[in-house]
Protein backbone atom coordinates (compact mmCIF):
# COMPACT_ATOMS: atom_id res chain seq x y z
CA UNK A 1 0.00 0.00 0.00
CA UNK A 2 2.68 2.49 0.93
CA UNK A 3 6.11 2.78 -0.70
CA UNK A 4 6.95 6.23 0.42
CA UNK A 5 9.52 8.06 -1.62
CA UNK A 6 12.28 10.36 -0.60
CA UNK A 7 10.38 13.23 -2.24
CA UNK A 8 7.30 12.44 -0.23
CA UNK A 9 9.32 12.51 2.97
CA UNK A 10 10.70 15.89 1.89
CA UNK A 11 7.15 17.11 1.31
CA UNK A 12 6.04 15.83 4.72
CA UNK A 13 8.98 17.52 6.37
CA UNK A 14 8.00 20.75 4.68
CA UNK A 15 4.37 20.45 5.80
CA UNK A 16 5.63 19.73 9.31
CA UNK A 17 8.16 22.58 9.14
CA UNK A 18 11.26 20.52 9.80
CA UNK A 19 14.45 21.21 7.86
CA UNK A 20 15.54 17.58 7.71
CA UNK A 21 18.96 16.70 6.37
CA UNK A 22 19.64 14.67 3.24
CA UNK A 23 20.77 11.79 5.41
CA UNK A 24 17.55 11.92 7.43
CA UNK A 25 15.51 11.85 4.23
CA UNK A 26 16.99 8.46 3.41
CA UNK A 27 16.63 7.05 6.90
CA UNK A 28 13.08 8.28 7.34
CA UNK A 29 12.00 7.15 3.88
CA UNK A 30 12.99 3.60 4.76
CA UNK A 31 11.55 3.64 8.26
CA UNK A 32 8.28 5.34 7.36
CA UNK A 33 7.81 2.86 4.56
CA UNK A 34 8.30 -0.02 6.95
CA UNK A 35 5.97 1.45 9.57
CA UNK A 36 3.27 2.36 7.06
CA UNK A 37 3.36 -1.18 5.71
CA UNK A 38 2.77 -2.49 9.20
CA UNK A 39 0.01 -0.10 10.17
CA UNK A 40 -1.87 -0.33 6.87
CA UNK A 41 -3.36 -3.45 8.43
CA UNK A 42 -6.06 -1.26 10.01
CA UNK A 43 -7.72 -1.17 6.61
CA UNK A 44 -8.51 -4.90 6.84
CA UNK A 45 -11.28 -4.52 9.41
CA UNK A 46 -12.40 -0.94 8.91
CA UNK A 47 -15.65 -1.55 7.09
CA UNK A 48 -18.06 1.13 5.93
CA UNK A 49 -20.52 0.06 8.61
CA UNK A 50 -18.11 0.83 11.46
CA UNK A 51 -18.39 4.37 12.85
CA UNK A 52 -15.10 6.04 13.76
CA UNK A 53 -14.30 6.86 17.40
CA UNK A 54 -12.48 10.15 17.96
CA UNK A 55 -12.82 10.40 21.72
CA UNK A 56 -12.23 7.85 24.44
CA UNK A 57 -15.13 8.99 26.61
CA UNK A 58 -18.70 9.57 25.41
CA UNK A 59 -19.04 13.10 26.78
CA UNK A 60 -20.92 15.89 24.97
CA UNK A 61 -21.75 19.55 25.61
CA UNK A 62 -18.95 20.50 27.97
CA UNK A 63 -19.08 24.27 28.17
CA UNK A 64 -17.54 27.05 30.18
CA UNK A 65 -19.53 30.01 31.51
CA UNK A 66 -18.68 33.25 29.77
CA UNK A 67 -16.84 34.76 32.73
CA UNK A 68 -13.44 36.42 32.70
CA UNK A 69 -10.71 34.50 34.52
CA UNK A 70 -7.33 35.91 35.48
CA UNK A 71 -4.71 35.31 32.80
CA UNK A 72 -1.06 36.23 32.50
CA UNK A 73 0.55 39.64 32.81
CA UNK A 74 2.46 40.93 29.82
CA UNK A 75 5.72 40.13 31.63
CA UNK A 76 4.64 36.58 32.37
CA UNK A 77 3.46 36.10 28.79
CA UNK A 78 6.78 37.29 27.38
CA UNK A 79 9.06 35.75 30.02
CA UNK A 80 9.85 32.68 27.92
CA UNK A 81 9.99 34.47 24.58
CA UNK A 82 13.17 34.06 22.53
CA UNK A 83 12.85 37.79 21.73
CA UNK A 84 10.42 40.53 22.71
CA UNK A 85 9.98 44.20 21.89
CA UNK A 86 7.40 46.80 22.92
CA UNK A 87 5.35 44.27 24.83
CA UNK A 88 5.16 41.99 21.83
CA UNK A 89 6.80 38.76 20.72
CA UNK A 90 9.55 39.61 18.27
CA UNK A 91 9.87 37.17 15.37
CA UNK A 92 11.91 37.17 12.17
CA UNK A 93 10.30 38.61 9.05
CA UNK A 94 7.28 36.64 7.88
CA UNK A 95 7.24 35.63 4.23
CA UNK A 96 3.87 34.01 3.75
CA UNK A 97 0.50 35.70 3.64
CA UNK A 98 -2.07 35.44 6.36
CA UNK A 99 -4.63 32.74 5.66
Amino acid sequence: MSNISRDEVAHLAKLARMAVTEEELDTFAGQLDQILDAVAKVGEVAGDDIPPTSHAVPLTNVFRTDEVRPGLSQDEALAGAPAAEEGRFRVPRILGEEQ
Partner: protein
Protein backbone atom coordinates in the same frame (compact mmCIF):
# COMPACT_ATOMS: atom_id res chain seq x y z
CA UNK B 1 -3.22 46.97 -13.39
CA UNK B 2 -4.37 49.77 -15.59
CA UNK B 3 -7.96 50.36 -16.64
CA UNK B 4 -7.09 49.22 -20.14
CA UNK B 5 -6.85 45.71 -18.73
CA UNK B 6 -10.39 45.90 -17.45
CA UNK B 7 -13.47 45.24 -19.53
CA UNK B 8 -16.24 47.77 -19.73
CA UNK B 9 -18.92 46.73 -17.26
CA UNK B 10 -21.77 46.68 -19.77
CA UNK B 11 -19.77 44.37 -21.98
CA UNK B 12 -18.95 42.10 -19.03
CA UNK B 13 -22.66 41.66 -18.41
CA UNK B 14 -23.35 41.05 -22.06
CA UNK B 15 -20.83 38.23 -22.30
CA UNK B 16 -20.66 36.65 -18.85
CA UNK B 17 -22.74 35.58 -15.90
CA UNK B 18 -21.11 36.37 -12.55
CA UNK B 19 -21.11 33.85 -9.71
CA UNK B 20 -20.54 35.08 -6.18
CA UNK B 21 -19.68 33.35 -2.95
CA UNK B 22 -19.46 35.40 0.20
CA UNK B 23 -17.67 34.37 3.37
CA UNK B 24 -18.32 36.60 6.32
CA UNK B 25 -16.38 36.32 9.56
CA UNK B 26 -18.11 37.81 12.58
CA UNK B 27 -16.37 38.36 15.89
CA UNK B 28 -18.82 37.64 18.67
CA UNK B 29 -19.12 40.19 21.45
CA UNK B 30 -18.92 37.65 24.27
CA UNK B 31 -17.23 38.60 27.54
CA UNK B 32 -14.47 36.07 27.04
CA UNK B 33 -12.63 34.28 24.27
CA UNK B 34 -13.80 31.12 22.52
CA UNK B 35 -11.72 28.63 24.50
CA UNK B 36 -10.37 30.49 27.54
CA UNK B 37 -11.43 33.02 30.13
CA UNK B 38 -9.41 35.94 28.76
CA UNK B 39 -11.39 39.11 28.13
CA UNK B 40 -12.70 39.59 24.60
CA UNK B 41 -12.22 43.31 24.29
CA UNK B 42 -10.90 45.58 21.59
CA UNK B 43 -7.63 47.38 22.26
CA UNK B 44 -5.59 47.17 25.45
CA UNK B 45 -1.82 46.97 25.85
CA UNK B 46 -0.34 44.15 23.75
CA UNK B 47 -0.35 40.68 25.27
CA UNK B 48 -2.37 41.65 28.32
CA UNK B 49 -5.49 39.65 27.42
CA UNK B 50 -3.68 36.35 27.23
CA UNK B 51 -3.25 33.13 29.20
CA UNK B 52 -1.53 29.77 28.68
CA UNK B 53 -4.51 28.58 26.58
CA UNK B 54 -4.67 31.38 24.00
CA UNK B 55 -0.87 31.60 23.88
CA UNK B 56 -0.82 27.92 22.94
CA UNK B 57 1.51 27.09 25.79
CA UNK B 58 2.51 23.47 26.31
CA UNK B 59 -0.09 21.62 28.37
CA UNK B 60 -2.86 24.20 28.09
CA UNK B 61 -6.30 22.98 27.02
CA UNK B 62 -9.32 24.68 25.46
CA UNK B 63 -12.82 24.70 26.95
CA UNK B 64 -15.71 25.94 24.81
CA UNK B 65 -17.45 29.18 25.74
CA UNK B 66 -21.12 28.19 26.15
CA UNK B 67 -22.36 31.67 25.31
CA UNK B 68 -20.50 31.57 21.99
CA UNK B 69 -22.27 28.32 21.15
CA UNK B 70 -25.62 29.91 21.99
CA UNK B 71 -24.80 32.87 19.76
CA UNK B 72 -23.84 30.51 16.95
CA UNK B 73 -27.11 28.63 17.25
CA UNK B 74 -29.11 31.87 17.40
CA UNK B 75 -27.34 33.19 14.31
CA UNK B 76 -28.06 29.91 12.56
CA UNK B 77 -31.72 30.09 13.47
CA UNK B 78 -31.99 33.72 12.36
CA UNK B 79 -30.50 32.64 9.03
CA UNK B 80 -33.15 29.91 8.73
CA UNK B 81 -30.52 27.19 9.09
CA UNK B 82 -30.88 23.67 10.38
CA UNK B 83 -29.06 23.23 13.67
CA UNK B 84 -26.82 20.16 13.84
CA UNK B 85 -27.95 17.49 16.29
CA UNK B 86 -24.31 16.56 16.80
CA UNK B 87 -21.18 18.31 15.65
CA UNK B 88 -17.54 18.67 16.50
CA UNK B 89 -14.64 21.05 16.30
CA UNK B 90 -11.75 20.12 14.08
CA UNK B 91 -8.17 21.25 13.84
CA UNK B 92 -7.10 23.09 10.71
CA UNK B 93 -3.34 22.60 10.63
CA UNK B 94 -1.03 25.18 9.12
CA UNK B 95 1.89 27.17 10.43
CA UNK B 96 1.56 30.89 10.87
CA UNK B 97 3.15 33.02 13.57
CA UNK B 98 -0.06 34.83 14.51
CA UNK B 99 -1.68 31.49 15.37
CA UNK B 100 -0.16 30.22 18.64
CA UNK B 101 -0.94 26.51 18.29
CA UNK B 102 -0.21 26.43 14.56
CA UNK B 103 -3.65 25.04 14.07
CA UNK B 104 -6.95 26.83 14.09
CA UNK B 105 -9.70 25.22 16.09
CA UNK B 106 -12.60 25.46 13.70
CA UNK B 107 -15.55 23.45 12.49
CA UNK B 108 -14.92 21.59 9.29
CA UNK B 109 -17.36 19.05 7.90
CA UNK B 110 -19.73 19.29 10.86
CA UNK B 111 -20.87 22.93 11.14
CA UNK B 112 -23.31 23.81 13.90
CA UNK B 113 -25.72 25.47 11.41
CA UNK B 114 -26.30 24.72 7.74
CA UNK B 115 -28.73 25.06 4.83
CA UNK B 116 -30.29 28.42 5.49
CA UNK B 117 -31.17 31.59 3.63
CA UNK B 118 -31.33 35.34 4.06
CA UNK B 119 -33.74 37.56 2.17
CA UNK B 120 -31.98 40.68 1.02
CA UNK B 121 -33.67 43.91 -0.09
CA UNK B 122 -32.01 45.80 -2.93
CA UNK B 123 -32.12 49.59 -3.30
CA UNK B 124 -35.21 49.49 -5.51
CA UNK B 125 -37.06 47.28 -3.09
CA UNK B 126 -36.53 44.01 -4.96
CA UNK B 127 -36.03 41.08 -2.61
CA UNK B 128 -33.34 38.51 -3.41
CA UNK B 129 -32.95 35.28 -1.47
CA UNK B 130 -29.34 34.37 -0.72
CA UNK B 131 -28.86 30.72 0.23
CA UNK B 132 -26.61 30.03 3.19
CA UNK B 133 -24.35 27.00 3.03
CA UNK B 134 -23.24 26.99 6.65
CA UNK B 135 -22.42 28.99 9.75
CA UNK B 136 -19.65 27.56 11.86
CA UNK B 137 -17.62 28.43 14.93
CA UNK B 138 -13.91 29.10 15.02
CA UNK B 139 -11.31 31.33 16.67
CA UNK B 140 -9.52 34.48 15.60
CA UNK B 141 -5.75 34.90 15.28
CA UNK B 142 -3.37 37.38 16.87
CA UNK B 143 -2.16 40.55 15.19
CA UNK B 144 1.22 41.07 13.63
CA UNK B 145 2.96 44.39 13.29
CA UNK B 146 5.55 44.48 10.53
CA UNK B 147 8.58 46.56 11.37
CA UNK B 148 11.06 48.07 8.96
CA UNK B 149 10.73 48.29 5.20
CA UNK B 150 9.03 51.14 3.46
CA UNK B 151 5.37 50.32 3.79
CA UNK B 152 4.95 48.88 7.28
CA UNK B 153 3.34 45.98 5.47
CA UNK B 154 4.50 42.43 5.34
CA UNK B 155 6.63 42.82 2.22
CA UNK B 156 10.05 44.21 2.91
CA UNK B 157 9.64 44.15 6.68
CA UNK B 158 12.73 43.38 8.74
CA UNK B 159 10.93 41.63 11.54
CA UNK B 160 7.48 41.35 13.01
CA UNK B 161 5.96 41.89 16.44
CA UNK B 162 3.10 39.74 17.65
CA UNK B 163 0.24 40.61 19.96
CA UNK B 164 -2.10 37.77 20.90
CA UNK B 165 -4.85 39.81 22.57
CA UNK B 166 -7.21 38.90 19.73
CA UNK B 167 -6.01 35.30 19.45
CA UNK B 168 -8.88 33.03 20.38
CA UNK B 169 -11.69 35.58 20.05
CA UNK B 170 -14.84 33.70 18.98
CA UNK B 171 -15.67 33.92 15.30
CA UNK B 172 -18.66 32.76 13.36
CA UNK B 173 -17.96 32.15 9.69
CA UNK B 174 -21.04 32.42 7.50
CA UNK B 175 -20.68 31.04 4.00
CA UNK B 176 -23.19 31.48 1.19
CA UNK B 177 -23.98 28.97 -1.50
CA UNK B 178 -22.98 30.20 -4.96
CA UNK B 179 -25.08 33.26 -5.80
CA UNK B 180 -25.99 33.04 -9.47
CA UNK B 181 -28.31 34.77 -11.92
CA UNK B 182 -27.78 38.26 -10.54
CA UNK B 183 -26.27 39.66 -13.74
CA UNK B 184 -25.33 43.30 -13.52
CA UNK B 185 -26.74 43.55 -10.02
CA UNK B 186 -24.21 41.09 -8.57
CA UNK B 187 -22.06 43.78 -6.89
CA UNK B 188 -25.17 45.39 -5.45
CA UNK B 189 -26.42 42.04 -4.19
CA UNK B 190 -23.09 41.45 -2.49
CA UNK B 191 -23.32 44.76 -0.70
CA UNK B 192 -26.99 44.29 0.17
CA UNK B 193 -26.28 40.84 1.58
CA UNK B 194 -23.51 42.02 3.86
CA UNK B 195 -25.66 44.97 4.90
CA UNK B 196 -28.59 42.70 5.72
CA UNK B 197 -26.34 40.35 7.63
CA UNK B 198 -24.84 43.24 9.57
CA UNK B 199 -28.27 44.62 10.47
CA UNK B 200 -29.43 41.18 11.53
CA UNK B 201 -26.41 40.56 13.74
CA UNK B 202 -26.70 44.00 15.25
CA UNK B 203 -30.37 43.48 16.03
CA UNK B 204 -29.44 40.21 17.73
CA UNK B 205 -26.74 41.96 19.76
CA UNK B 206 -24.20 39.19 19.17
CA UNK B 207 -21.44 41.27 17.60
CA UNK B 208 -20.23 44.85 17.26
CA UNK B 209 -20.32 44.31 13.47
CA UNK B 210 -17.73 47.04 12.88
CA UNK B 211 -16.15 46.47 9.48
CA UNK B 212 -13.61 49.22 10.17
CA UNK B 213 -12.45 47.45 13.34
CA UNK B 214 -12.58 44.00 11.81
CA UNK B 215 -15.42 42.61 13.89
CA UNK B 216 -17.20 41.93 10.61
CA UNK B 217 -15.05 40.86 7.68
CA UNK B 218 -16.09 39.80 4.21
CA UNK B 219 -14.17 37.68 1.72
CA UNK B 220 -15.68 37.88 -1.75
CA UNK B 221 -15.34 34.94 -4.12
CA UNK B 222 -15.99 35.94 -7.70
CA UNK B 223 -16.01 33.94 -10.90
CA UNK B 224 -17.49 34.41 -14.33
CA UNK B 225 -19.07 31.92 -16.64
CA UNK B 226 -19.46 32.62 -20.30
CA UNK B 227 -23.10 33.05 -21.26
CA UNK B 228 -24.63 29.65 -21.81
CA UNK B 229 -21.58 27.79 -20.52
CA UNK B 230 -23.35 26.29 -17.52
CA UNK B 231 -20.12 25.59 -15.72
CA UNK B 232 -18.57 27.81 -13.07
CA UNK B 233 -15.34 29.54 -13.94
CA UNK B 234 -12.23 29.71 -11.76
CA UNK B 235 -12.76 31.95 -8.79
CA UNK B 236 -10.64 34.42 -6.93
CA UNK B 237 -11.07 35.24 -3.28
CA UNK B 238 -10.75 38.90 -2.39
CA UNK B 239 -9.88 39.77 1.18
CA UNK B 240 -9.26 42.99 3.05
CA UNK B 241 -12.69 44.37 2.13
CA UNK B 242 -13.27 46.77 4.99
CA UNK B 243 -16.53 48.57 4.26
CA UNK B 244 -19.91 47.91 2.71
CA UNK B 245 -19.02 50.14 -0.18
CA UNK B 246 -15.83 48.18 -0.73
CA UNK B 247 -17.78 44.93 -1.00
CA UNK B 248 -19.59 46.29 -4.01
CA UNK B 249 -16.47 47.85 -5.52
CA UNK B 250 -14.36 44.73 -5.04
CA UNK B 251 -16.90 42.46 -6.72
CA UNK B 252 -17.36 44.85 -9.60
CA UNK B 253 -13.62 45.25 -10.05
CA UNK B 254 -12.98 41.53 -10.09
CA UNK B 255 -15.75 40.99 -12.62
CA UNK B 256 -14.19 43.51 -15.02
CA UNK B 257 -10.72 42.11 -14.42
CA UNK B 258 -11.74 38.50 -14.96
CA UNK B 259 -13.66 39.39 -18.10
CA UNK B 260 -10.72 41.20 -19.64
CA UNK B 261 -8.46 38.20 -19.02
CA UNK B 262 -11.00 35.65 -20.27
CA UNK B 263 -11.87 37.67 -23.36
CA UNK B 264 -8.19 37.84 -24.14
CA UNK B 265 -8.00 34.06 -24.12
CA UNK B 266 -6.30 33.95 -20.75
CA UNK B 267 -7.27 31.95 -17.72
CA UNK B 268 -8.00 33.03 -14.17
CA UNK B 269 -5.59 31.92 -11.50
CA UNK B 270 -7.28 30.61 -8.38
CA UNK B 271 -5.75 32.89 -5.79
CA UNK B 272 -6.30 35.20 -2.89
CA UNK B 273 -6.41 38.88 -3.75
CA UNK B 274 -6.34 41.94 -1.55
CA UNK B 275 -8.65 44.86 -2.05
CA UNK B 276 -6.91 48.22 -2.16
CA UNK B 277 -9.16 50.82 -0.64
CA UNK B 278 -7.25 53.73 -2.18
CA UNK B 279 -7.88 52.98 -5.84
CA UNK B 280 -10.57 50.32 -5.67
CA UNK B 281 -8.43 47.63 -7.32
CA UNK B 282 -7.34 44.21 -6.12
CA UNK B 283 -3.79 42.88 -5.96
CA UNK B 284 -2.54 39.32 -5.96
CA UNK B 285 -1.11 37.92 -2.76
CA UNK B 286 2.16 36.06 -2.68
CA UNK B 287 1.58 32.73 -4.37
CA UNK B 288 2.15 29.67 -2.26
CA UNK B 289 4.80 27.21 -3.29
CA UNK B 290 2.67 24.21 -2.50
CA UNK B 291 -1.05 23.71 -2.25
CA UNK B 292 -2.24 23.87 1.33
CA UNK B 293 -3.10 20.59 2.97
CA UNK B 294 -4.80 21.50 6.23
CA UNK B 295 -4.96 17.94 7.56
CA UNK B 296 -8.26 18.48 9.34
CA UNK B 297 -9.15 16.02 12.07
CA UNK B 298 -11.58 16.07 14.99
CA UNK B 299 -10.24 18.21 17.87
CA UNK B 300 -9.45 15.60 20.55
CA UNK B 301 -9.31 18.16 23.35
CA UNK B 302 -12.97 19.11 22.90
CA UNK B 303 -15.94 16.81 23.13
CA UNK B 304 -18.79 16.90 20.60
CA UNK B 305 -21.63 19.40 20.81
CA UNK B 306 -25.10 17.87 20.71
CA UNK B 307 -27.65 20.66 21.17
CA UNK B 308 -30.91 19.25 22.48
CA UNK B 309 -33.99 20.27 20.57
CA UNK B 310 -35.35 21.87 23.74
CA UNK B 311 -32.29 24.06 23.99
CA UNK B 312 -32.57 25.05 20.34
CA UNK B 313 -36.23 26.00 20.82
CA UNK B 314 -35.38 28.03 23.90
CA UNK B 315 -32.80 29.90 21.88
CA UNK B 316 -35.23 30.41 19.03
CA UNK B 317 -37.52 32.19 21.47
CA UNK B 318 -34.76 34.71 22.26
CA UNK B 319 -34.32 35.87 18.68
CA UNK B 320 -35.61 39.42 18.37
CA UNK B 321 -37.80 40.64 15.56
CA UNK B 322 -35.63 40.45 12.49
CA UNK B 323 -34.77 43.59 10.56
CA UNK B 324 -36.96 42.90 7.56
CA UNK B 325 -39.95 42.00 9.69
CA UNK B 326 -39.31 45.06 11.74
CA UNK B 327 -39.18 47.20 8.62
CA UNK B 328 -42.59 46.09 7.59
CA UNK B 329 -43.98 46.84 11.03
CA UNK B 330 -42.22 50.19 11.24
CA UNK B 331 -43.67 51.26 7.90
CA UNK B 332 -47.14 50.49 9.21
CA UNK B 333 -46.62 52.00 12.65
CA UNK B 334 -45.12 55.21 11.34
CA UNK B 335 -47.33 55.34 8.32
CA UNK B 336 -44.41 55.79 5.92
CA UNK B 337 -44.58 55.85 2.16
CA UNK B 338 -42.50 53.28 0.30
CA UNK B 339 -40.12 56.05 -0.62
CA UNK B 340 -39.71 57.22 2.95
CA UNK B 341 -39.00 53.67 4.04
CA UNK B 342 -36.49 53.21 1.24
CA UNK B 343 -34.68 56.39 2.29
CA UNK B 344 -34.44 54.99 5.77
CA UNK B 345 -33.15 51.63 4.57
CA UNK B 346 -30.75 52.97 1.97
CA UNK B 347 -29.09 55.35 4.37
CA UNK B 348 -28.76 52.50 6.85
CA UNK B 349 -30.73 54.60 9.31
CA UNK B 350 -33.71 52.43 10.08
CA UNK B 351 -32.44 50.69 13.19
CA UNK B 352 -30.85 53.91 14.39
CA UNK B 353 -34.13 55.79 13.97
CA UNK B 354 -36.03 53.00 15.67
CA UNK B 355 -33.62 53.08 18.57
CA UNK B 356 -33.97 56.86 18.75
CA UNK B 357 -37.75 56.50 18.87
CA UNK B 358 -37.35 53.84 21.55
CA UNK B 359 -35.35 56.42 23.49
CA UNK B 360 -38.37 58.74 23.49
CA UNK B 361 -38.10 60.81 20.31
CA UNK B 362 -40.82 61.50 17.77
CA UNK B 363 -40.31 59.36 14.64
CA UNK B 364 -40.45 62.30 12.22
CA UNK B 365 -37.82 64.23 14.17
CA UNK B 366 -35.67 61.13 14.49
CA UNK B 367 -35.90 60.37 10.79
CA UNK B 368 -35.07 63.91 9.88
CA UNK B 369 -31.93 63.91 12.03
CA UNK B 370 -30.56 60.59 10.82
CA UNK B 371 -31.52 60.71 7.16
CA UNK B 372 -30.51 64.31 6.66
CA UNK B 373 -28.01 65.98 8.98
CA UNK B 374 -26.30 62.90 10.35
CA UNK B 375 -26.21 61.22 6.96
CA UNK B 376 -24.45 64.31 5.57
CA UNK B 377 -22.02 64.18 8.46
CA UNK B 378 -21.28 60.51 7.82
CA UNK B 379 -20.55 61.25 4.18
CA UNK B 380 -18.28 64.18 4.93
CA UNK B 381 -16.50 62.19 7.61
CA UNK B 382 -16.19 59.22 5.21
CA UNK B 383 -17.78 56.73 7.51
CA UNK B 384 -20.95 54.71 7.82
CA UNK B 385 -23.95 56.20 9.58
CA UNK B 386 -23.85 53.44 12.15
CA UNK B 387 -20.19 54.05 12.81
CA UNK B 388 -20.72 57.67 13.86
CA UNK B 389 -19.91 57.97 17.52
CA UNK B 390 -23.31 59.49 18.38
CA UNK B 391 -25.84 57.06 19.81
CA UNK B 392 -29.61 56.97 19.25
CA UNK B 393 -30.13 57.89 22.89
CA UNK B 394 -27.99 60.98 22.41
CA UNK B 395 -29.93 61.99 19.31
CA UNK B 396 -33.14 61.54 21.29
CA UNK B 397 -31.77 63.83 23.98
CA UNK B 398 -30.97 66.53 21.43
CA UNK B 399 -34.49 66.27 20.03
CA UNK B 400 -35.85 66.58 23.55
CA UNK B 401 -33.81 69.73 24.21
CA UNK B 402 -35.06 71.31 20.98
CA UNK B 403 -38.62 70.42 21.92
CA UNK B 404 -38.31 72.08 25.29
CA UNK B 405 -36.82 75.20 23.75
CA UNK B 406 -33.48 74.76 25.42
CA UNK B 407 -31.80 74.42 22.05
CA UNK B 408 -32.54 76.07 18.75
CA UNK B 409 -32.15 73.95 15.63
CA UNK B 410 -28.91 75.70 14.87
CA UNK B 411 -27.58 75.14 18.37
CA UNK B 412 -28.74 71.54 18.22
CA UNK B 413 -26.59 70.96 15.15
CA UNK B 414 -23.62 72.45 16.97
CA UNK B 415 -24.29 70.14 19.91
CA UNK B 416 -24.41 67.14 17.57
CA UNK B 417 -21.14 68.25 15.97
CA UNK B 418 -19.60 68.33 19.42
CA UNK B 419 -20.74 64.80 20.15
CA UNK B 420 -19.38 63.62 16.80
CA UNK B 421 -16.07 65.30 17.60
CA UNK B 422 -15.84 63.22 20.73
CA UNK B 423 -16.60 65.92 23.29
CA UNK B 424 -18.97 63.67 25.21
CA UNK B 425 -22.73 63.38 25.40
CA UNK B 426 -25.04 66.30 24.45
CA UNK B 427 -25.27 67.74 27.95
CA UNK B 428 -21.49 67.65 28.32
CA UNK B 429 -21.07 69.35 24.94
CA UNK B 430 -23.58 72.07 25.92
CA UNK B 431 -21.71 72.60 29.14
CA UNK B 432 -18.27 72.56 27.56
CA UNK B 433 -19.10 74.74 24.57
CA UNK B 434 -21.63 76.96 26.33
CA UNK B 435 -24.33 76.29 23.75
CA UNK B 436 -27.51 76.64 25.76
CA UNK B 437 -30.22 79.05 24.62
CA UNK B 438 -29.91 82.29 26.59
CA UNK B 439 -33.15 82.21 28.51
CA UNK B 440 -32.17 84.70 31.15
CA UNK B 441 -34.38 87.68 30.30
CA UNK B 442 -32.15 90.24 31.96
CA UNK B 443 -29.19 89.17 29.80
CA UNK B 444 -31.39 89.29 26.71
CA UNK B 445 -32.87 92.67 27.71
CA UNK B 446 -29.40 94.16 27.93
CA UNK B 447 -28.67 92.91 24.42
CA UNK B 448 -32.05 94.22 23.19
CA UNK B 449 -31.48 97.66 24.70
CA UNK B 450 -28.05 97.82 23.16
CA UNK B 451 -29.37 96.89 19.74
CA UNK B 452 -32.24 99.37 19.97
CA UNK B 453 -29.82 102.11 21.02
CA UNK B 454 -27.53 101.25 18.13
CA UNK B 455 -30.35 101.51 15.62
CA UNK B 456 -32.66 104.30 16.86
CA UNK B 457 -34.29 104.69 13.43
CA UNK B 458 -35.39 101.07 13.44
CA UNK B 459 -36.62 101.44 16.99
CA UNK B 460 -38.74 104.37 15.87
CA UNK B 461 -40.17 102.39 12.96
CA UNK B 462 -41.30 99.64 15.31
CA UNK B 463 -42.78 102.19 17.65
CA UNK B 464 -44.56 103.60 14.68
CA UNK B 465 -46.29 100.26 14.19
CA UNK B 466 -43.99 98.64 11.60
CA UNK B 467 -43.65 95.51 13.68
CA UNK B 468 -41.87 93.58 10.93
CA UNK B 469 -38.94 95.97 11.29
CA UNK B 470 -38.20 94.20 14.55
CA UNK B 471 -36.46 91.54 12.48
CA UNK B 472 -33.35 93.67 12.15
CA UNK B 473 -33.12 94.07 15.92
CA UNK B 474 -33.72 90.34 16.45
CA UNK B 475 -30.88 89.65 14.06
CA UNK B 476 -28.56 91.99 15.92
CA UNK B 477 -29.45 90.39 19.26
CA UNK B 478 -28.94 86.89 17.87
CA UNK B 479 -25.56 87.96 16.56
CA UNK B 480 -24.63 89.48 19.89
CA UNK B 481 -25.62 86.28 21.73
CA UNK B 482 -23.88 84.08 19.19
CA UNK B 483 -27.16 82.46 18.26
CA UNK B 484 -27.82 81.23 21.71
CA UNK B 485 -31.05 83.17 22.17
CA UNK B 486 -34.54 81.99 21.47
CA UNK B 487 -35.56 84.29 18.59
CA UNK B 488 -39.26 84.27 19.50
CA UNK B 489 -38.52 85.44 23.02
CA UNK B 490 -36.19 88.14 21.70
CA UNK B 491 -38.98 89.45 19.49
CA UNK B 492 -41.36 89.53 22.44
CA UNK B 493 -38.86 91.48 24.50
CA UNK B 494 -38.22 94.00 21.71
CA UNK B 495 -41.93 94.70 21.32
CA UNK B 496 -42.30 94.95 25.09
CA UNK B 497 -39.37 97.40 25.27
CA UNK B 498 -40.54 99.81 22.58
CA UNK B 499 -44.06 99.57 23.93
CA UNK B 500 -45.47 98.63 20.59
Amino acid sequence: MTTAELMDYAEVIERYDPVLGLEVHVELSTNTKMFCGCPNSFGGDPNTHVCPVCLGMPGALPVVNGTAVESAIRIGLALNCDIAEWCRFARKNYFYPDMPKNFQTSQYDEPIAFDGHLDVVLDDGEVVRVDIERAHMEEDTGKSLHVGGATGRIHGAEHSLLDYNRAGVPLIEIVTKPITGMGERAPEVARAYVTALRDLLRAMDVSDVRMDQGSLRCDANVSLMAKGAGEFGTRTETKNVNSLRSVERAVRYEMTRHAAILADGGSIKQETRHFQEADGTTAAGRTKETAEDYRYFPEPDLVPIAPTREWVEQLRATIPELPWQRRKRIQEDWNLTDEELRDLVNTGAIELVAATVDAGADQADARSWWVQYLNQQATSRETELADLVITPAQVARVIELVGSGELTNKLARQVVDGVLDGDGDPDQVIEKRGLKVVSDDSALLAAVDEALAAQPDVADKIRGGKVQAAGAIVGAVMKATKGQADAARVRELILERVGA
